[in-house]
């Protein structure tokens, strides 16, 4: 039996009258790509927020790599090896692409109470950053201001930043959202190579991407996980069809 990297138990989060997470149990096994799908407003973003540490759950626990991280904030979880990308592109726009990634490297190389040496001359930061940029295909764009990168490139940059922290788990929040067909195909191809070496939790609306990439899928509706299984299992699940996919819209 493969080792469980992320174990979520009884996770609940309420916003006023809305139960955005309702007793969620979720196991992510080391090495798998686990997709989380569900209609708009089902609670996917709330779940990701709690996994990343931006939202405090009202109840339940999150164990990551064998340790309880429920009470840790986002920076601490990141330093434990839980990296994320955001649904809406989130980068340091007024820094170069290389700076963006070098910052991610820096955040994971001890305290930053160093006041004298220029960070941009620091090979211990720049070289791993260059390697991470190259790995997502942005090697040639290292010196470009992040704001001036194309949308697809900015999404790749986010992933490079996540990879530069050498994470054990990567949370991807709609990585192909807002991309053109060609861009989105390229991203999916990239994620196919990435998933061989890293555990991924993938929230995505694009069903082609989900069924190409996912080893297992959990379906969330009204804050509850109604089914978890392999893509064929989920595709064949009656409750999923009724609740989410609709009888006439089989993925």
């Amino acid at each position: 039996m493969a080792e469980t990297l992320l174990a979520v138990r009884g996770l609940s989060k309420r916003f006023g009258g809305l139960l955005a997470s309702d007793q969620i149990d979720l196991d992510v096994v080391r090495g798998e790509t686990h997709a989380i799908i569900g209609p708009n407003g089902a609670g996917k973003t709330t779940l990701i927020g709690q996994l990343a540490g931006d939202l405090r759950p009202d109840a339940g626990s999150i164990r990551f790599a064998g340790q309880d991280v429920t009470r840790l904030d986002a920076p601490l979880r990141s330093r434990r090896g839980l990296a994320r990308s955001f649904q809406i592109t989130s980068i340091f726009r007024d820094f170069s692409a290389l700076d963006n990634v070098a910052l991610a490297v820096q955040a994971h190389s001890g305290g930053s109470f160093r006041f004298w040496r220029p960070a941009r001359d620091d090979r211990a930061l720049r070289e791993p950053a260059r390697a991470a940029l190259a790995s997502v295909g942005l090697g040639e764009r290292a010196g470009v201001l992040a704001a001036n990168l194309a949308h697809g490139e900015q999404r790749q940059l986010e992933i490079a930043m996540a990879l530069a922290t050498e994470p054990r788990l990567l949370l991807l929040d709609e990585p192909v959202a807002g991309m053109g067909l060609e861009e989105s195909r390229r991203m999916v191809r990239f994620l196919e190579t990435l998933k061989r070496r890293i555990t991924i939790v993938l929230v995505e609306h694009d069903m082609d991407a989900v069924f190409t990439l996912a080893d297992r899928i959990s379906v969330i509706v009204y804050g509850r996980i109604i089914a978890t299984g392999t893509p064929p299992e989920v595709r064949g699940n009656e409750r999923v069809r009724r609740a989410y996919l609709g009888e006439d819209h089989t993925p």
């Binding site: 920076p75 994320r84 989130s90 910052l103 955040a107 930053s112 109470f113």
Partner: protein, 315 residues
């Protein structure tokens, strides 16, 4: 390349400022030594504000508080007969650092308009504290019996000597500041300014870095206050009034936020304008206002951005 351009800017500016006392002596205009020294003192305060405002995105509207604390750290010991600068100036730095630590630890839990208002409120609290210090002149303030004493050749009563002491502190602070903003520490506060949720997501906990920057800026502001008390040989709670905080912020914006050298130009320009315009009319602020608006609207990086060869983005 940018580094050497900065070095050139620093060397040229330094040389020009160093020439002020001999030129003033030659032209028999000693007033200019006084004026430019005052500019440099405010430049130190403005550069320190730029560290947190321009690089850290912390819009502190209470920076004059540290000027006041620094000034009282000179004035109160002097009142009790302790006139050693070796004691007064470190006291100014430590006292304003402590104040910045408390103010920062509370204010940095907020952001945006709340941060502006809470730093303003703290500065006004200190202003009213100054007003209530009857023993030290209350709202009238008090005269400084004499400038800080250091012994040896460092005699601040010699206008030129005091001038070069201020210049040396300004240059040292600019050098340290340039290193700081490019260091790992500087990158953290700049990243947090650029996109705090992202900075947190990659593993930075920005709070303690921002607080440290806030304390560094506060202590430099305190040193500027100690210099200002020596400059005017007089101190009043007005040093801490919110309009003074606004003036320092104007200097930063006028000179160019996030440029470090810009606020020096901003301080010189603002005080020069004030000097020239107030000689023409008592309503000089009516002229100053539109000039500031024009700079904010049309010169994104302030006066510094208008300089030939100024880097589009520092780094």
């Amino acid at each position: 390349m940018t580094v050497s351009r900065r070095a050139i800017a620093l060397a040229v500016g330094c040389l020009l400022l160093a020439l002020v006392p001999p030129i003033a002596a030659l032209t028999n205009q000693p007033f200019y030594v006084d004026l430019f020294r005052r500019m440099m003192i405010f430049a130190i305060a403005a550069v320190s504000l730029d560290l947190i405002l321009g690089y850290g995105g912390m819009v502190s509207f209470g920076h004059a508080a540290y000027l006041g604390i620094g000034a009282y750290a000179v004035g109160i010991p002097a009142f009790h007969g302790v006139d050693s600068g070796w004691l007064q100036w470190p006291l100014a730095i430590v006292a304003s650092a402590l104040a910045a630590l408390v103010i920062g630890a509370i204010s940095l839990r907020t952001s945006g308009v709340y941060f502006i208002m809470i730093t303003l409120a703290f500065a006004q609290m200190l202003y009213y504290l100054g007003l209530s210090l009857e023993a030290y002149g209350g709202d009238n303030g008090m005269r400084l019996a004499g400038r800080s004493r250091f012994g040896g050749p460092i005699d601040l009563h010699q206008p030129a000597v005091f001038y070069y002491v201020v210049l040396a502190i300004l240059v040292l602070f600019l050098v340290l500041g340039s290193r700081l903003v490019a260091s790992r520490f500087g990158m953290v506060i700049r990243a947090a300014k650029s996109n705090e949720p992202r900075a947190r997501a990659i593993g930075f906990s920005p709070f303690r870095y921002k607080l440290t920057a806030f304390v560094i800026a506060g202590s430099a502001g305190g040193l500027a206050g100690a210099l200002l008390a020596n400059q005017t040989e007089y101190l009043t709670p007005d040093f801490m009034h919110w309009t003074r905080s606004g003036e320092i912020m104007f200097m930063v914006i006028l000179g160019g936020t996030g440029t470090l050298f810009g606020p020096v130009i901003g301080a010189i320009a603002l005080l020069l304008l004030e000097d020239v315009l107030s000689a023409l009319t008592v309503h000089w602020q009516i002229v100053l206002g539109p000039i500031l608006i024009l700079v904010v609207l049309f010169a994104k990086r302030g006066l510094f951005g208008l300089l030939p060869g100024a880097a589009p983005r520092d780094g």
